[in-house]
């Protein structure tokens, strides 16, 4: 009996915290279907009184929203794919090969993860401006394609693969590139999905670097686009709600689909490493 009450109490507490966690999302989505008059009315209701899709409809005309959205998807996909491939191949070499200087390189990668963005961003900015790479997607892709976190995770993960497996393939005459692509890559699916989701999110929410690098509006990314939107149409809260809803919901859907792998990845990255 006591156990049952305790269990119910625990469930209630968790449920309350869950509600607090979810409320901002719910409020955002519901508000995105309200008219601006209703959003800023004195009398507030949670559900929209007059359900409207206008906020979404005007996003494109006021704001070229699809362009920003498409740019963000493109950059996030390219960077994520590059980071995954590079992390895997570096993780493979750094975990399964023995050579001089290996630990030095790996130690260095770990050390660089500690360097704050503020230390490198000023001179990187100068470098990219001097190289004439401002306002090009190369400036967004090049520095982002190596991830210390990714290499670290893949080194842990691939390091745990049995050597016998690789050795058997070598005996069969497979070269290292074939071993990497046909054995190591397919066996690292879990860590790859974890890196994929994180990396996608990081690119998706990166703000300062694209803000500094990209000048032309048709190349701008969504995260930065939200700011210009807020400034220019400062009273259009409905539009802002609609825009944030669209920029959050895809990420949430991806998360809910992959949440198992996601959690496995976080736990592996932290506890194992």
């Amino acid at each position: 009996m006591k156990r049952k009450i305790m269990g119910a109490a625990l469930f209630l507490v968790l449920l309350m915290m869950g509600v607090v966690t979810v409320v901002p999302f719910v409020w955002m989505v519901l508000s995105s279907f309200k008219t601006n008059a209703e959003i800023s009315a004195l009398e507030q209701t949670l559900l929209p009184k007059a359900f409207t899709l206008e906020n979404y409809a005007t996003l494109q005309s006021n704001f070229n929203f699809l362009r920003y959205f498409g740019n963000s998807v493109f950059i996030a996909l390219v960077v994520t794919a590059l980071v995954i491939y590079i992390s895997c191949i570096c993780g493979f070499v750094l975990s399964k090969y023995q050579f001089k200087g290996k630990n030095l390189i790996f130690g260095f990668i770990m050390m660089t993860m500690m360097i704050p963005w503020s230390v490198t961003i000023i001179s990187r900015y100068t470098m990219f401006v001097d190289a004439g790479l401002q306002d090009s997607y190369l400036s967004l892709i090049l520095p982002a394609m190596v991830s210390g976190f990714g290499i670290f995770m893949m080194k842990q993960d691939i390091g745990a693969l049995p050597d016998e497996l690789l050795e058997a393939a070598r005996m069969d005459g497979a070269n290292e590139f074939a071993i990497f692509h046909k054995i190591v890559l397919p066996m690292s699916k879990n860590s790859i999905s974890a890196i994929a989701i994180f990396q996608f999110l990081w690119v998706w929410e990166d703000y300062l670097w694209p803000y500094l690098m990209i000048d032309s509006e048709e190349k701008q990314l969504l995260a930065v686009g939200l700011t210009t939107f807020n400034g220019r149409y400062s009273t259009d809260y409905g539009g802002l709600f609609a825009a944030t809803t669209i920029s959050i919901i895809p990420v949430l859907i991806i998360y809910i689909i992959f949440q198992k792998r996601f959690v496995a990845g976080v736990a592996a990255g932290a506890v194992k490493g």
Binding site: P24, W27, M28, V146, E164, L212, L252, Y255
Partner: protein, 299 residues
Amino acid sequence: MFWKRRPLQSKSEVVLRNIVVAFLVLHMGIFLIVPVIMAFAGSFHLWNPLNGTYKWIGLDNYVRMFQYPTFWTAMINTLVFCVVVVAFRVLLGLSLAYAITSKMTTKKTFFRTVFYMPTVTPLVAVAYVWKIMYNPQFGLIDQILGVDINWLYDSAFALPAVMAMTIWKDFGYAVILFMSGLMSVPSDYYEAAHIDGANAWKTFCYITLPLLKPTMIFVVITSVISYLQAYVPVMVMTDGGPGTATFLSSYLVYDQAFVKYNFGYASAIAFFILVLTAILTVISFTVTGEKPEKRRKRA
């Protein structure tokens, strides 16, 4: 086993190794080492890219930094921010993880998924939503609490408001980490404690907590390091204001570098943050007497 140490390396192995090493060295050299050196050199210069100034001024930037009141405001704000947010993160993370992993809780996956949701959402968008939530006329927070506070424009409430948003955004990460820490505690430890007649609280204090120390250290260190670098919530929600009430260390670098274009001065502050980060990491490891590598191997 004889193949553990293979003296003979196939040609493709050498090729692949060389490609990877060359690529890593080149990439790190260009995008990390060179910028760090440039920033370090720049911190001793009067450096303004707009009018092309690059003049040696020795330690002036560092001297000026310590005399600049906003620098101290930003540092104190960052300290308060770190202490409060990290404390909440550990407290909420640990207690919720404990509640979820408890035998009495059903729907574990559901709660885990819900609590982690804010962590996976893009910070810029979330910061906008919270900014509107703090609106004094129609924001959700004043409505629910039944108060009339202009959170982001009142210097007493602006920083706590940004902190509350950050706690909401980040506690789920700690929940996941503590959950995996809790689940890795061998169940015979609990059985032994049970046989010895320990109650739940004693078991938690003497068995669970000590075993969670590595997770705790990891959460605290990674949190502090990431908050030393936080700028997005400030940029979106307050622009550092009102006045300098919500200036955080990294926002100050942004402000000096890309608003005022004092590149040299901003570099000096950035190096101060770097040193702080390094010291904090070393202190946390020595205080707990554990090296990260050791912890990794054990876990």
